[in-house]
């Protein structure tokens, strides 16, 4: 789960990670009021959406008067902001963050993420602030300094020194930086974060470090104990069908093909997409219905898949483990009564009682339900059905 910049900065402030002052605004009036409260004579109007690259997309603008704040806020609020992370349709901007202008002397990058190799969180810093870190990692990996932090002992001075000297900071700046980095580590650990990105981190004219931007993502498995983070969840930033699927314990991701897939297990679900691709088709979605595959979950699965008008055929691929296939087959038949399914459905059931299951499906007399013998057969039939439709 991700949160907005302004929310991440709220968490930063509680842990004394310095950020510029700012207020959130939902209307141009509120934006002006926010600027007046902040005072000064320069403000930044920043679109709040869950995607990077907002500046390049025209979602971050500088204002030199309150009337300019109003003008820019009116422009940005309600726009479909397109960045390299939103897809071509962009994302609707529903709120702007009004922030005081900052005196930028130098820009850096500072981030934290779980390093799977060391099984520890790592902090990464770079002098290439403001640039895409992926690009820096690709073009000049030596410009990224990384330290793995053992969670059993926590953030130590040497971690900070390694980063600070690596960034080429002046001796008198080092302690300020270490204080910043150590506070950031605490934000990360205390909130079960899986990612923090500050890009850019800036050094001001008077030698302070400020998080000019802030991005945070969290471990979904830990949300049950992070009530404050949970309250920050913005459902309007998530795919509505993915949210709905989640309510029923289904894991759904929309793709751009025409063969719908319903599978039990995440690995097999990905493998099914790959098989469809291998057989010359394009998967329309990833859908893991979990272990049980009951009539209700299958019905819900059909409903969600069919919300996508591109779907021309559905491949149901269930490897019945401890669950018996004949039960799943009956579940599928029942599901077609609960939800209207008007595209060909190719069903492959394997595991206990697979033969009985195929008989049940073939004898049901439903013209658009076809039984398949194995994974390849099912994928081939589904691809052919999608092409013929």
């Amino acid at each position: 789960m991700n949160i907005h910049e302004y929310q991440a900065k709220e968490l930063f402030k509680k842990y004394n990670v310095p950020t510029p002052r700012g207020h959130i605004a939902f209307t141009p009036d509120e934006a002006v009021k926010a600027a007046q409260e902040l005072g000064g004579n320069i403000w930044v109007v920043k679109a709040q959406i869950h995607a990077g690259g907002r500046g390049l997309g025209g979602g971050v603008k500088l204002a030199k008067s309150t009337s300019e704040v109003r003008e820019l806020a009116s422009q940005i609020l309600g726009m479909q902001l397109v960045t390299h992370q939103t897809g071509p349709e962009g994302k609707l901007v529903q709120k702007v963050y009004i922030e005081e202008g900052a005196d930028i002397k130098k820009e850096y990058y500072l981030g934290m993420v779980l390093d799977r190799a060391s099984e520890m969180p790592i902090m990464m810093a770079s002098t290439e602030g403001g640039m895409e870190i992926e690009e820096v990692a690709h073009k000049s990996p030596e410009k990224i300094i990384k330290v793995a932090i053992d969670p059993l002992t926590g953030f130590q001075g040497f971690h900070g020194r390694k980063l600070a000297f690596g960034l080429g900071l002046a001796v008198e700046e080092i302690n300020t930086f270490i204080k910043f980095a150590s506070a950031l580590y605490k934000v990360y650990m205390d909130h079960d974060a899986e990612m923090i990105e500050i890009n850019p981190l800036i050094k001001t004219g008077d030698g302070k470090f400020l998080a000019l931007d802030a991005k945070m993502g969290f471990d979904n498995n830990a949300l049950y104990r992070q009530s404050q983070v949970n309250e920050m969840r913005d459902l309007s930033e998530e795919e509505p069908t993915e949210i709905e699927a989640g309510k029923y314990g289904l894991s759904y991701i929309k793709l751009d093909g025409d063969v719908g897939c319903m599978v039990n297990g995440a690995g097999l679900a990905m493998g099914t997409m790959d098989t469809i691709n291998y057989e010359g088709g394009k998967p329309a979605n990833f859908l893991d219905v979990g272990g049980g595959a009951s009539a209700e979950t299958v019905a819900k699965g059909f409903e969600i898949i069919l919300k996508d008008p591109n779907v021309k055929a559905i491949f149901v691929n269930i490897f019945g483990g401890i669950v018996r296939c004949d039960r799943v087959a009956n579940g599928i038949l029942e599901a077609t009564k609960l939800t209207k399914v008007d595209v060909p459905v190719i069903v492959r059931l394997d595991g206990t009682n697979a033969a009985e299951a195929a008989d049940i499906l073939n004898n049901a007399g439903i013209s658009n339900i076809v039984a398949a013998t194995d994974l390849a057969d099912g994928a081939r039939k589904a691809v052919a059905a999608a092409k013929g439709a």
Binding site: A117, N221, G267, G271, N277, L375
Partner: protein, 290 residues
């Protein structure tokens, strides 16, 4: 022969009396696994499924001599359970539970490593040595005894591959579901040498997926240390970037962790990589020279 577990392995269940724990412990016993007891704090002294229940793992180990624990406790209590097992001298903890926080696993694994306890999982189907010992939730009947070792991040793909291998006329020595979370216990790199050393295993199937770089590490390891033929499939060739595909660890971050990158590394290491998971069985037949 087999790896890690066999018909003599003594197993306890943490979360023994819960719904999931009970159901699967019973299935494991029916398969032939020596479940010698279980742990449910507060229910010590009772009997469940004909076996003793203990308050602590230490009590269970002292009284039964168990060396392996199968963990079914709810996600919030997984770290505690793993550390308790490690503290009690358990040698291998098989963590079935799905949904444990990453931070908890970070602490739990560090502690387990310190105590020399191996872990499998979390969020995995477990481990099975065909016809001898099943510690997990997989449908046992698929795993007919044979000569192929199996390592997989995915549960249902494990069943799918085992089924194909068996249909081609081969069978399984041991199959290990290592799980698809960002932090897991035993991985390819630790399990491959065990299969290499097992005289009964003639070929190895490894199933990977997008995210992380365990498969890349495995490729490097295979190149220098594994002489037995290896067949691999990497799930998620058609997965979009930046989207989590069900498993917490199955996500392409930026340009890292793609299926294509992993497939290329494995191929370069001499592994027989299949593009479609429907071809795993056939590929095994091929490397076995059938």
């Amino acid at each position: 022969m087999s790896i890690l577990v066999n018909k003599d392995t003594k197993v306890i269940v943490q979360g023994f009396t819960g719904k999931e724990g009970s159901f699967h412990a019973e299935q494991c016993m029916a398969y032939g696994t020596k479940i010698v007891g279980g742990v449910t704090p507060g229910k010590g002294g009772q009997e469940h499924l004909g076996q003793p229940v203990f308050n602590t793992v230490s009590d269970a180990v002292a009284s039964t001599g168990a060396t392996v624990s199968m963990i079914f406790v709810p996600p919030a209590f997984v770290a505690d359970a793993v550390m308790e097992a490690a503290d009690a001298g358990i040698e291998l903890a098989v963590i079935i539970t799905e949904g444990a926080p990453v931070k908890d696993m970070m602490y739990a694994k560090a502690y387990a490593t310190k105590k020399n306890m191996m872990t499998i999982g979390p969020n995995c189907p477990g481990i099975i040595t065909a016809d001898e010992c099943k510690i997990g939730i997989m449908p046992g009947f698929i795993f007919k005894k044979g000569s192929v070792g199996l390592i997989s991040k995915s549960g249902t793909l494990t069943y799918e591959s085992a089924n194909q291998v068996v249909k081609e006329g081969f069978g399984i020595t041991t199959a290990v579901g290592i799980g698809g979370d960002p932090i897991i216990g035993l991985s390819y790199k630790q399990l491959l040498p065990m299969f290499e050393a097992d005289p009964e295993t003639k070929a190895i199937v490894m199933i990977g997926e997008i995210g992380g770089d365990l498969e890349i590490q495995a490729a490097e390891f295979i190149k220098h240390n594994i002489t037995k033929p290896v067949v691999a499939f990497i799930a998620g060739q058609t997965a979009p970037k930046g989207k989590r595909m069900g498993h917490a660890g199955a996500i392409i971050s930026g340009s890292a962790g793609t299926a294509q990158e992993k497939m290329a590394a494995l191929e370069a290491a001499g592994v027989k990589v299949v593009v479609s998971p429907a071809d795993i069985g056939k590929a095994v037949a091929e490397v076995m020279g059938k």
